[in-house]
């Protein structure tokens, strides 16, 4: 056998690698290695040699769980069409060759293949198939089988999560779950933006994110979890599903269960590791020196022409074009690098009859693609154990410790790289006085500032140490065996964040220098305690099945911050970066902040079904909070389901295995809104009077008095399984209204905004997900999946106000009833005036002194004026259509999968192009620079170079608002698994090798760097890179 060659190899690692690559290249080898143990190999040769040795085999087939005999089970001799079925008592008899393999199959049960090995009696216990419907889903303070749900819950399992190389497991949900929008974040150690069914709360205060419940504790994000620690993530989408978490569930709930052991299970040791490289993708092309120079010369600004001339004098002229400076810097090139990442995790789990445990450790390391001290390291330890203390008491505990170190990027570098002009070099040795680095500076050419992004990346360090402990302990007491239990759980999540922002001193020019090195340190401590008590009653009376839960929860969440800063410390000695070693303490940087909020909740849930056909579900939650003036909120929810496939009249419809329709309604409160004092508050301020710093007070003239923001949702859905459980389909339609929405209402005259309950927002849409999986043969199987969701975001009313302004004064966003929330709002560009004739024929152009090359705006009300009345909604940043699809093909132990996704209908404000309103000393993207209007017929889309600078063309218009749709090949993975192999007589652990490409390709028309922009305003974002990695998973 060919595979022997490898087995004899002395170097174990070489063998592992060889297999990996062998798998990729050489298929026959895989076959032979794979089939060495398979019964098929035997039967392939067998019938010829052993045909005569027929024996009679008989036995009983039973249900493994109940022990009941199973009638009608199919038994087939593998590789033939011969077979039989069991009788009413589960008994069978069959004639088969003595070395044959018998295959036992039955709908709803896992197929089993057993070698006869000359035996005459074979009794088989079949395990029920764990179809998606039988899967147990976390529903909050309990679990339910998927088929019993009356609301919309999507679950993603660990093998899907593991496919995505990322620090934050939420990233792996992108494109996977209908109705969930994930906007990735490229910076190491930062979390993506997650939106469940649109937007529940008015955005902008960090309160859009769903609630994360990790093993019962509440979190705002899950950046501290390693993906390999997660067993499953359930997205509770509908209000009825989330209502049990009432208080914070308005934006949806994601329930995360970490991996745990199982009672009576052998020890399993799992290693999982990968190594990968991140590479920036779709880098936006900026104007090069030639394009930029042309634009500057055409700008009509003498100053800008002079700067070009200065550049040519200082750095010489380009040999290709003597009117262009010789320097041509691609600033993105200067600040980008490939970023390696790796992950290793080890988990040991198992259990005895009395205890179960899972202990693990993991390490994650990622270097950012921004070329500076920018990386993320995280080391996690985890223990989860359960113990059956006696026949009525079970206790358990779960501790996760996460130690993360992050060097945060200096994000201004992205902005500067975009805006920096290409006609000065990153390094300029002609600047004698520059130290410690001879950086180039744009102000030498006359520009207002130094511009060089390397000043941001070279002289800044942002160091953040995050240590988090999540500890939870529970005791569960059975009051009446299998019927009535009480459980008390205490959770404490403790986070300490030590931050250090360092600005090192440097000098390049007067305008690009930092005279005093500064050191700012802060410590943030978050200490959140939750104490939950719940009483569960589970019983059946004939066909009536009832489950009742009553609970109570107490929360105490505190936050403390201390900050201080100093100037001029021993910069060259990293170990001396202490405020004690600083020359001076900066009083302005001293800060002390904190908050402590209490919450109290009572909740209950009833789950009832009649004969597994008719389902009723209800929850009630009362939440008390300290944050608002209305202290208590009451949030009910109801659900009902009808399992039509259980009805007798459906028994004859063969292709339907399961069909259920369901409907639910629920209300939720949102307490993620910032607390309102409900009264005027006083701020301490200080100012210089006669050369001394004197402090005084300012009383806020406005304040918020808030009620609970309420989310009300109606959801109808259908869950079905068709064609022998091969096709799963879920369909939902939802209407989700946020009532009493707390909105930052702009204050007239004095600016700023006040939070008020001032609106009603609706999100509605349909969600569909489909999964088809099938085995073509023993070797070949495949699955196809797809999901899509629509979202219609709409402001229903604003309590009588015609609109509410958002965004900034220059880049207006406006919420208008009937339109999406925070829609971009401005003028529509009809084109560009091409010639003088066109100007003269248009009174608008004449009255405004326009020239050819200026924008022509649509005069919406035809009054021959372009004014405030001509503004219209230019689009919304919410995608109205999202889709994802995937396939997976397995051929024996080889598996190929690919995920695709996309979103449509969202707009992005190209805010970078808008920076010209404040300063014109900037570069532009190549698309714009190349396609500016340069004379009649040259462009009807962009103004002239000089027009770019005129206020007329800087109005908020659809010139700035671009289509943000994209399609992405999100993940492609090829893997090979070695199972049941021996190596030199020792059984090999089950080993899976894989190669993955994450975010392989993104297709978009948007003229910017990153199209993953949470709020639709592209100012500067850390781009989301592609990742290519290889990994291995070994199970001992």
């Amino acid at each position: 056998m060919k595979s022997k060659l490898y087995f004899n190899s002395n170097n174990k690692w070489a063998w592992l690698l060889a297999i990996l690559f062998g798998v990729l290249i050489c298929n026959p080898l895989v076959l032979s290695a794979n089939t060495a143990h398979s019964g098929k190999d035997g039967s392939g040769n067998g019938p010829l040699n052993f045909q005569q040795q027929q024996i009679e085999v008989s036995g009983t087939v039973t249900d493994a769980q109940s022990g009941d005999p199973l009638p009608g089970v199919n038994i087939i001799i593998q590789g033939t069409t011969q077979g039989t079925t069991t009788n009413m008592d589960g008994n069978y008899t069959i004639e088969a060759p003595g070395d044959a393999t018998l295959v036992y199959s039955f709908v709803g049960y896992q197929q089993q293949a057993i070698q006869v090995n000359g035996r005459n009696e074979i009794n088989v216990a079949l395990q029920q198939a764990v179809t998606e419907l039988e899967e147990v889903v976390a529903i909050g303070y309990g679990t339910a089988k998927r088929k019993d749900l009356t609301s919309s819950i999507s679950t993603v399992s660990s093998d899907e999560i593991d496919k995505t190389p990322t620090a934050d497991a939420l990233q792996s949900l992108q494109g996977k779950v209908s109705g969930v929008e994930i906007v990735s974040s490229g910076a190491p150690g930062t979390s993506p933006t997650v939106r469940v069914r649109g937007i529940g709360s008015y955005p902008g205060r960090g309160n859009e994110s769903p609630l994360y419940v990790v093993d019962g504790a509440f979190y705002d994000n899950i950046d501290f979890l390693n993906t390999s620690q997660i067993e499953s993530m359930s997205v509770l989408k509908s209000a009825s599903a989330a209502a049990i978490y009432g208080v914070r569930a308005a934006n949806g709930v994601i329930v995360i269960e970490t991996k745990s052991g199982e009672f009576d299970r052998e020890t399993q040791i799992t290693y999982d590791g990968y190594y990968g490289v991140q590479i920036a993708q779709d880098v936006v092309k900026m104007a090069n020196a030639e394009q930029y120079s042309r634009m500057a010369m055409n700008s009509g600004s003498a100053a800008d022409s002079l700067y070009i001339l200065n550049a040519m004098q200082r750095y010489g002229r380009s040999r290709k074009n003597p009117n262009v400076p010789a320097v041509n810097t691609d600033w993105y090139d200067e600040i980008l690098r490939p970023g390696p990442m790796q992950n290793h995790s080890l988990t040991i789990s198992g259990g005895t009859s009395k205890s179960s445990y899972s202990i693990g450790s993991s390490y994650f390391n990622q270097k950012g693609i921004l070329d500076m001290k920018n990386n993320y390291n995280r080391f996690n330890l985890r223990t989860k154990a359960d113990y059956r203390a006696n026949d009525w008491l079970t206790i358990g505990g779960n501790v996760i410790f996460s130690d993360a170190q992050r060097y945060a990027p200096e994000n201004s570098a992205w902005r500067r790289a975009y805006h920096a002009v290409p006609i000065f070099p990153p390094y300029d040795n002609q600047i004698d006085e520059a130290e410690p680095l001879k950086l180039g500076a744009a102000d030498i050419l006359g520009y207002r500032g130094g511009q060089n992004p390397l000043a941001a990346t070279e002289f800044n360090e942002n160091h953040i140490l995050t240590r988090k402990i999540l500890a939870n302990f529970y005791a569960e007491v059975e009051l009446i065996p299998e019927k009535l239990t009480i459980k008390t759980t205490y959770n404490h999540s403790y986070t300490s964040i030590q931050g250090e922002n360092v600005g090192l001193s440097y000098f390049v020019t007067e305008k690009m220098q930092r005279e005093n090195a500064n050191l700012n340190k802060y410590t943030n401590i978050f200490s959140d305690k939750i104490w939950d008590n719940q009483l569960t009653y589970d019983d059946s009376f004939g066909n009536h099945n009832l489950k009742v839960m009553l609970g109570h929860s107490f929360r105490d969440e505190s936050y403390q911050r201390l900050a201080a800063g100093g100037l001029n410390f021993p910069e060259e000695q990293r170990t001396a970066w202490y405020l004690d070693k600083a020359d001076e303490i900066n009083e302005d940087a001293v800060g002390d902040d904190g908050s402590r909020l209490y919450g109290l909740s009572y909740f209950g849930r009833v789950q009832y079904n009649f004969n597994n056909k008719y389902y009723l579900y209800g929850t009630m939650r009362a939440d008390g909070t300290q944050k608002y003036q209305q202290k208590w909120g009451y949030f009910p929810s109801f659900g009902a389901g009808w399992s039509i496939s259980q009805e007798s009249f459906m028994q004859n419809v063969d292709f339907i295995d399961f069909l259920k329709i369901r409907a639910s309604w629920g209300q939720l409160g949102n307490d993620k809104i910032q607390p309102s004092a409900g009264t005027a508050t006083t701020n301490v301020v200080n100012t210089a009077i006669d050369g001394s710093l004197v402090s005084g007070t300012q009383r806020t003239s406005t304040y918020s008095v808030l009620e609970w923001e309420l989310v009300e949702e109606f959801d109808v859905g259908l869950t079905t399984t068709l064609f022998d459980n091969r096709l799963n389909l879920d369909f939902d339609y939802f209407i989700r209204d946020t009532k009493n929405a707390a909105i930052n209402v702009q204050r007239p005259l004095l600016g700023g905004s006040t939070l008020k309950n001032q609106g009603e927002i609706r999100n509605s849409g349909i969600e569909l997900s489909l999964n088809w999986s099938d085995n073509i043969s023993d070797s070949w199987s495949y699955s196809l999946g797809g999901n899509m969701s629509t979202l219609n975001n709409e402001v229903l009313n604003l309590f009588g106000q015609p609109y509410l302004n958002g965004g900034s004064a220059e880049f207006r966003q406006r919420s208008i009833p009937g339109e999406p929330l925070l829609a971009f709002y401005g003028w529509e560009v009809a084109g560009v005036y091409q010639n003088q004739q066109e100007i003269e024929n248009d009174p608008i152009a004449v009255n405004n002194g326009l020239v050819p090359g200026d924008f022509k705006y649509v005069d919406q009300n035809n009054d021959d004026q372009i004014d405030a009345e001509d503004r219209v909604v230019l689009g919304s940043y919410f995608p109205n259509f999202k889709y994802g699809f995937n396939f997976r093909v397995n051929y024996n132990n080889l598996s190929l999968s690919a995920d695709f996704m996309g979103k449509m209908g969202n707009k992005i404000l190209n805010r970078k192009r808008g920076e010209i309103i404040w300063t014109s000393d900037l570069n532009k993207d190549a698309e714009l620079a190349n396609n500016l209007w340069r004379g009649e017929g040259t462009s009807n889309k962009y103004p002239s170079a000089s027009g770019l600078r005129r206020g007329w063309n800087q109005k908020m218009s659809d010139y700035f608002v671009e289509d943000g749709s994209y399609f992405r090949i999100r993940n492609v993975q090829l893997s090979y698994t070695i199972k049941d192999q021996n190596f030199m007589g020792v059984e090999m652990p089950q080993t899976r090798f894989y190669v993955t490409a994450e975010r392989l390709l993104t297709i978009s028309d948007y003229n910017g760097f990153a199209n993953e922009i949470p709020d639709g305003i592209d100012d500067f974002m850390y781009p989301t890179p592609s990742v290519y990695n290889i990994g291995v998973n070994i199970q001992f």
């Binding site: 009509g300 600004s301 003498a302 100053a303 800008d304 006359g446 207002r448 009051l479 009535l484 009480i486 007067e510 305008k511 005279e515 005093n516 008590n533 107490f554 001076e584 303490i585 902040d593 904190g594 908050s595 209490y598 919450g599 109290l600 909070t625 300290q626 202290k631 607390p675 004092a677 009264t679 508050t681 006083t682 301020v685 200080n686 100012t687 210089a688 009077i689 006669d690 001394s692 710093l693 402090s695 005084g696 007070t697 300012q698 009383r699 003239s701 007239p748 005259l749 004095l750 302004n805 004064a809 220059e810 207006r812 309103i917 404040w918 000393d921 600078r949 206020g951 800087q954 109005k955």
Partner: protein, 511 residues
Amino acid sequence: MKINKYSIKLFVFIGLLVGISGCEDILHEPLENTIVAEETDYTQTENMISPVIGLYAEFYGMGWEKLPLVSVRGDDVNKGAQGDQQPFGETDKFNYNEGYWMYNSTWQGFYQGVFTANSTIEEVNKYKEHADNKALADKYIAEAKVIRAWYLFQLSRVWGKIFIVESSDPSGLFNMELSTKEEVMQYISDQMDQAIPNLPDSHPNQREDITGGVTRYTALAIKAQANLELENYQGVADATSQIISSGLFSLHDDFYQLFKLEGKLNDENLLELQYSDFGQGSGEQRRHLFNFYGPQSWTPAREGAGSGWGFWEPTLEYIKFMLDRGEQVRLQTTVLFTPDGITELENEYDGTVPDWISNETPSGDIIENGPRANFFSGKYYLPSNQLTQGRTAYGSNKNYQLIRYAEVLLMHAEALVQGASSNSISADEAVNLVRERAGLDPLSNVTLDQVMEEKYAELATEMGIRFYDMVRLERYEELNYHEGEAEFTEDKIFLPYPLNQQDLLPQLQNE
């Protein structure tokens, strides 16, 4: 027996629940880390000064763009070359852009000040109930009224009809009516009459509690300015006479140094924005962003001193006017010359350009050519060698003068030549005091034209005084100096309301 065991467990559980329910009171605790204003102990009357200091902090913290927007439109100053902040330059040329960010920011910033003043008055009133010294409370209230009046004065000069707001609560604004400019100016004058008796009878720099703060004479100066806008010249003369007769104010001998560190809390100032680096080379400081006014490029006498943005260009017209008058002191103080500027002057000026015109300032800083302008602002220039050792930011530690005694004298003179009668000095005496300091010969029987020329020469580039004078006297031709580029007409007097404010307050849309 079994049931019993369960009941015990159940009772324990229920006991727990009842126990925790007692926690409900904590939901009513006030939020951590907030100072609840209502909890303020107003009997601690020694804290009465705190909201007043808070108001000064707001006043002095004024953003850089506000005063230039108020002041840019006259023939004394240009915004500086085109290309950057173009709509600001367009404003200089009377092409207004309601969507331009500076309009909104200035409007909001000034109104923020008005609201802070209102809240200060409300706070002080609460202390007043418990104060033994009610006069002190009245003084603070009067002080807040003066600062509020200053804000309203600027707002109304720029936008005409505005809202007079007297409460710190903005919720009533939606139904509020606009007041005309005349109403606003009369309101300011009346407010000052109310405030004056309660204010200290001293020079601002003599105040002990808030040195450099508002006094009776600041209120009188603002009253005079408001009456000037109303063309109530007798009102102007009466107010200015009181200031002059007090004998507390005088013109600083050295006009050049008046706009440098010597100008801080100077006897000439009636109102100024105070800043400081606290005499330290690093660390905390309060500064105005004078960079806006500074030369774009220079060789500073002190190495490493930062330059400015080059936006505040005295006009060629002004320079020629001053050369025609044979002025040196005020021209040298008001204008920084670049080499290109001097060349331009040599080409453009009909007379001889005197030798003393140089691109080296009297303080030894060498002004280089800047692409944005040929001339830079001298009044908002702080010589590099006056920076505290260790500081490099342009103009740091310099104060911003808002009302000078020279302006008071010239308002006085203008009122008299317009027919008002004086109970202090004559118009000739007032004008000659200003001329004497500038090294010019005295005049007699001064005319309105001579007073206005004196104002132009003395107060150029400051606070838009020139522009609003020309508008008031309807001398629009003086504003048409942009040589065909821009024409001033009566409908250009006021800026359009910021679009953002129109969106928020429908009353503004109908104006």
